[in-house]
């Protein structure tokens, strides 16, 4: 990978992040009613609202407010103060980011645990009943609404069998057992759907490699089937599969928003919805900004990983 490509790619990401910050900042000026009115309530007098707006710096020109907002985030990690809890949002966000990332990673692992065997199983006999079965599973999985899947899993494993809790979060520092008990259902909800999506990609990545001349040659020279799979097929398909994993991680950062809300998982998605319903606009800004940054960074890393994984790909 050439340095100029890397710099160009980083430049375009910085441009996108600048745009993201502008859009996120614009949330408050675009919203109906000022944050000062939300804080003081509908009974507050106009003079009290104006005084609080001055105190919050909302009477300053928008470019000045933008620079001050971005400057606070970049220099001190200051996302402002919650209009509801009156606490700094940075602390709230610091607690929620690990919860969101943990859930997305766990869902990715569940998805891979489904997609790899199912995709390989289907690709080895294309057009067979088992291939059709895997395709039907994949198509159904892609069509299931995640919030419905969550409800069905709660109905089965929490309400009926009583095996797992239907909501809440326990960090790993509380012990492995409580952590696993709480993360299983949310991770299964997002992971099964993610697995259905990835199954299609794993299947087609393998089919593409299986049709290559070098695989036919390996079979023709008498290499055992297992060895051909390990040494030639899986190794070459891994490049496409890793790319899919990166793209899925970015998709999961969006998908877990819904899952967090269903399972009361204290992540950024739940913060965004609560903030919207309670009109806690600075908290909404923080949740949206951080999710967009995480999404952009994961996409960038996926993009850059092509060149490391596949020497045939070079960007100039």
């Amino acid at each position: 990978m050439s340095l100029s490509y890397l710099l160009r790619r980083l430049g375009s990401v910085l441009l996108v992040l600048f745009g993201v910050s502008l859009v996120t900042f614009a949330i408050i000026p675009l919203l109906p009613g000022s944050p000062a009115r939300v804080t003081l309530g509908v009974q507050a007098t106009p003079s009290a609202v104006a005084a609080l707006e001055r105190q919050m710096g909302l009477d300053r020109p928008l470019p000045v407010q933008y620079v001050s907002w971005v400057g606070g985030i970049l220099s001190r990690g200051d996302f402002g103060t919650s209009l509801i809890s009156r606490q700094p949002i940075a602390g709230e966000v610091a607690r929620r980011v690990p919860a969101t990332l943990t859930l997305a990673l766990a869902a990715l692992l569940v998805g891979l645990a489904i997609a790899l065997p199912a995709g390989i199983f289907a690709a080895l006999k294309p057009g067979s009943p088992r291939d059709l079965g895997v395709s039907v599973f994949s198509q159904l999985g892609v069509s299931v609404p995640d919030f419905w899947m969550g409800i069905l899993l709660i109905l089965l494993f929490s309400e009926t069998l009583g095996w797992l809790p239907s909501s809440g979060y326990r960090p790993l520092s509380d012990g492995l057992a409580p952590f696993l008990r709480h993360i299983t259902l949310p991770a299964l909800t997002a992971g099964i759907i993610s697995g259905a999506i990835m199954t299609r990609f794993v299947r087609s990545a393998l089919l593409e490699v299986l049709g290559q001349d070098y695989v036919r040659t390996a079979h023709a020279k008498g290499l055992p089937r297992g060895k051909v799979m390990r040494k030639h097929v899986l190794r070459n398909a891994a490049i496409s599969i890793v790319t899919i994993v990166g793209l899925q991680m970015a998709t999961l950062l969006s998908a877990v928003v819904v899952v967090e809300i269903i399972f009361a998982w204290p992540g950024l998605g739940q913060l965004a919805l609560t903030a919207t319903l309670q009109r806690d606009y600075p908290a909404l800004q923080a949740a949206v900004l951080l999710s967009a940054v995480a999404f952009t960074v994961v996409n960038l890393l996926t993009d850059l990983s092509y060149t490391f994984l596949d020497p045939r790909v070079s960007y100039t």
């Binding site: 375009s12 159904l140 949206v288 999710s291």
Partner: protein, 293 residues
């Protein structure tokens, strides 16, 4: 001269009857299209087909399990779940078609302009789309709803904003692949206006991927409307919407699981229909996938 004519002629038969015949023989198109046609009829005539008024409460039959009188049971207000699902089809389809219509028109116009004109116009449009792409879809929709307020009309706008960049990207890609073809160069040489060339010559030849994207976006839009209503941001009570019904059913999972199961099934079947139709159309219409199964 005949040679020149054949070089500059547009491939008129491509989007025509041949492709339609091919599409109608494709299993996925038939299966997905059949589901969508059936659901569209339900959406259109749900009010006539529904055995009960979807908002009429009857406290004597609260939480009644599925029976001949109430095939999908009743809810916490004694309302017939089957009738509400029939009415909900109309809400879901209306939101999905209008939202995808808005995002399609906006996205196609932007992608067509970016792809055909190129240069700084392309850069400005596509970088703006990249910025919108950087937001996780659900969060972007929630944020737009926070700005616009709750309600079904605002849900349509939120969904349209989320999906317009996808249409722009797909259209731009398709336009780039046809903009330098001979028939476009010939139209330019004949002195036709840029707008006419874009609409009469470029767009019709870039329609394949856009049609496929429309079907897939309708599936996403059904899911997005249901999710927003599930969160309490989309359709407001007492209007029946599949997402709203699912959200209401969530509180009574033990007592009346049918309240949550049937609306979810309705969403899944619709999404399955649009996805399968989209996959089939991609096989038939998208040159990158044609002939691949």
């Amino acid at each position: 001269m005949a040679t020149t004519t054949s070089h500059t002629e547009e491939p008129r038969s491509q989007p025509g009857l041949d492709l339609l015949r091919k599409a109608l023989r494709h299993g996925s198109v038939l299966f997905g299209g059949g589901i969508i046609l059936a659901l569209a009829l339900v959406a259109l005539f749900g009010a006539t087909l529904a055995p009960y008024d979807p908002v009429a409460m009857d406290f004597t039959v609260r939480f009644a399990p599925p029976s001949w009188a109430h095939p999908f049971g009743t809810d916490d207000f004694g309302r017939d779940v089957f009738s509400r699902i029939l009415y909900g089809a109309s809400v879901s389809f209306q939101v999905a078609f209008i939202a995808v219509g808005i995002s399609g028109v906006a996205g196609v116009a932007l992608g067509l302009t970016a792809g055909y004109r190129g240069g700084w116009i392309d850069d400005v449009i596509m970088r703006t789309m990249d910025i919108l792409f950087a937001f996780p879809a659900v969060l972007l929709a929630i944020t737009v709803m926070a700005i616009l307020g709750r309600g079904v009309e605002n849900a349509m706008i939120a969904i349209a904003i989320v999906y317009a960049p996808i249409f722009a990207r797909v259209t731009r890609g398709a336009v780039i692949s046809v903009r330098d073809r001979e028939f476009v160069t010939a139209a330019r040489a004949l002195g036709q206006s840029q707008l006419r060339i874009m609409l009469r010559h470029v767009l019709p030849n870039a329609l394949g991927p856009i049609i496929v994207q429309t079907s897939l976006s309708l599936a996403f839009a059904i899911l997005a409307e249901a999710a927003l209503s599930f969160f309490g941001l989309g359709t407001q009570p007492p209007d029946p919407s599949w997402g709203r019904m699912l959200s209401e059913g969530r509180g009574y999972l033990q007592q009346a699981p049918w309240m949550g199961i049937f609306p979810g099934l309705a969403i899944m079947v619709s999404v399955l229909g649009f996805n399968t139709l989209g996959d089939g159309l991609r096989d038939v219409l998208d040159p990158r996938f044609r002939g691949r199964h």
